[in-house]
Subunit: 332 residues, 2 copies
């Protein structure tokens, strides 16, 4: 397929890494199987086959290939990263009592909370086994640190929810936990197992971190400015769920006394009436926080692109760079 | 303190390892702290300070000391093992909707299911970070395999619950997941980080496995024959919760057609009337399965003791041997 029909950088990456991604999918299927607990693949199949964009394993594969990786550790780590991601989705489903995930009913509605918790634990354990097979202590450190950041971010999100005192700093920590920590680790381990120079490993990590932050800020912004038919979410879901994301945090910081009372009623107390979403949108527009948030996402995308400069010239490097643009392109 | 006042092998172990256990407790407190999510120690403190018997970290410390360990990896791994154990307790609480754990309200009643899942994940991640600090790939493999066995066992228990087709083999797999896998790994890593000969490492693993199985079978049997005031559980809780433990599995295997109908009604369908627990006890007595189960627990305790024979002579070896006796002594 040529690059005209494959215009999205994500699709071009998938095309450039198709052999490796097939090997990753095979490995994921093999390692989901439990000799002793046949229900496990029943649940994981549902999630893994729903597919998602497989962005995280592609980051690992792309980083490794870019750094001249030889062997099969890249495939193992790509599967590891997808297992960790899938495990966090399973645990999120329990946590959020969310009814939809990737447009399908969540595992915890089809089965139950018990299975979601335990099968998530199983996938964590499996990911852990897979990464030990690379024999790299440094990989273990990177992924264990990422796991700690992920769960800290999730707990932080829980405690920050509905709290108008939430700062941009706390928001950024939550975003790192939710998204950027695993993006950064996925890229970094790709460099590490390829024996890339430290400067390149650092650059890969910085790229993944900034890409993840840009991606999550864009996602949060799309909740207010997105097109429901393409995002699959309704406008204002986060408002209704009283989540403090960047455009709201900034609007609260700039609020007059009267506006503050509005945010206290709707977010802290959760007393929401018809028309409140419209008012919230007006306040964010009045303080320009939707536009400011877009600029922040774009700045992170730029940081991601710039990080790539120390890496060797390679078509994959261009695709990664384009990917950073792409995650924020939906905003303008 | 002399051995007369410290008659329980568990207390003698605690006394012999008191310096190391203090270091473990300090490390646990230090590593529970989350810079970003202050709610975490709030929840874990509750669990870790409730204390429990700290049996698993003592196994690691005893195994290491017995094999002449030098350094602080033993303390790190003992804390690792306790973190893994605490994380599984937090996730079990969600899973079982249990209202009591170690005589205190469970974390998920004091806080909520969300916190239990996420803080459990945090402790898993922390345990993982701690073990990487030992720098031993072999330790990583042992503990990742144990983690997989634990979660497989938990899922298996879920699917086997209320299923009269549950075999002794499935029961044993569940018991390995619930208890023996972590006991075995706790002992094994103590040997590994001490550079003990393979024969001794294998023996430590075999000891932990058999000790864990004896412990869990005894625990399940005490649910029927124990004294509520010392076990803290009501007689017949497992029956009411329709759990298939060894004495019931054996009674079902030996059941007449009429008896089978009784088990189907009470366990599979969950239709339990007054007097049904008495009938269940009668059936187990009639087929001698309570006594047979006791003999099985004792046989595993013997296996545990025998495994220790290849280890160096040492007072700690005697305490571990006595511990195997002790876990089944409550049964006679």
């Amino acid at each position: 397929m040529d690059q005209v029909t494959l215009s999205k950088p994500h699709d071009r990456l998938a095309d450039a890494l198709s052999d490796e991604m097939r090997a990753v999918d095979r490995l994921i299927r093999d390692r989901m199987v439990s000799e002793h607990a046949p229900r496990i693949p029943e649940i994981t199949k549902h999630l893994v086959e729903a597919g998602g964009k497989r962005l995280r394993p592609m980051l690992t594969l792309a980083a490794a290939k870019l750094c001249g990786h030889q062997g099969d550790a890249d495939v193992k780590l790509a599967a590891t990263v997808e297992f960790i991601h899938t495990a966090t989705l399973l645990h999120d489903d329990v946590v959020d009592e969310s009814a939809q995930r990737r447009g399908r009913p969540t595992a915890n509605l089809l089965w139950d909370n018990k299975s979601s918790v335990l099968v998530g634990d199983y996938l964590f354990a499996r990911s852990f086994q897979l990464m030990t097979e690379t024999g790299s202590m440094r990989v273990m450190e990177i992924l264990s640190n990422a796991s700690a950041t992920i769960s800290e971010g999730e707990v932080l999100q829980l405690t920050a929810a509905q709290d108008l005192k939430t700062t941009e700093e706390v928001y950024l920590q939550v975003v790192r936990g939710k998204t950027a920590a695993l993006f950064a680790a996925a890229c970094e381990v790709g460099g590490v197992i390829s024996g890339a120079p430290e400067e390149q490993v650092d650059a890969l990590r910085a790229y993944g971190d900034a890409l993840g932050i840009a991606f999550q800020i864009a996602d949060d912004l799309l909740d207010y400015v997105g097109d429901a038919s393409s995002t699959g979410k309704n406008v204002g879901d986060d408002f209704r769920e009283r989540k403090l994301t960047l455009p709201v945090i900034r609007a609260v910081a700039l609020a007059s006394e009267q506006e503050r009372a509005f945010w206290q009623r709707t977010i802290e107390k959760g007393q929401q009436d018809e028309g409140d979403l419209d008012t919230a949108m007006e306040l964010m527009r009045a303080h320009d926080t939707l536009e400011d948030t877009r600029l922040t996402a774009e700045a992170w995308a730029r940081t991601a692109r710039e990080a790539l400069e120390v890496l060797p010239e390679h078509p994959l490097r261009e695709m990664l760079s384009d990917l950073a643009d792409y995650v924020v392109s939906r905003l303008s």
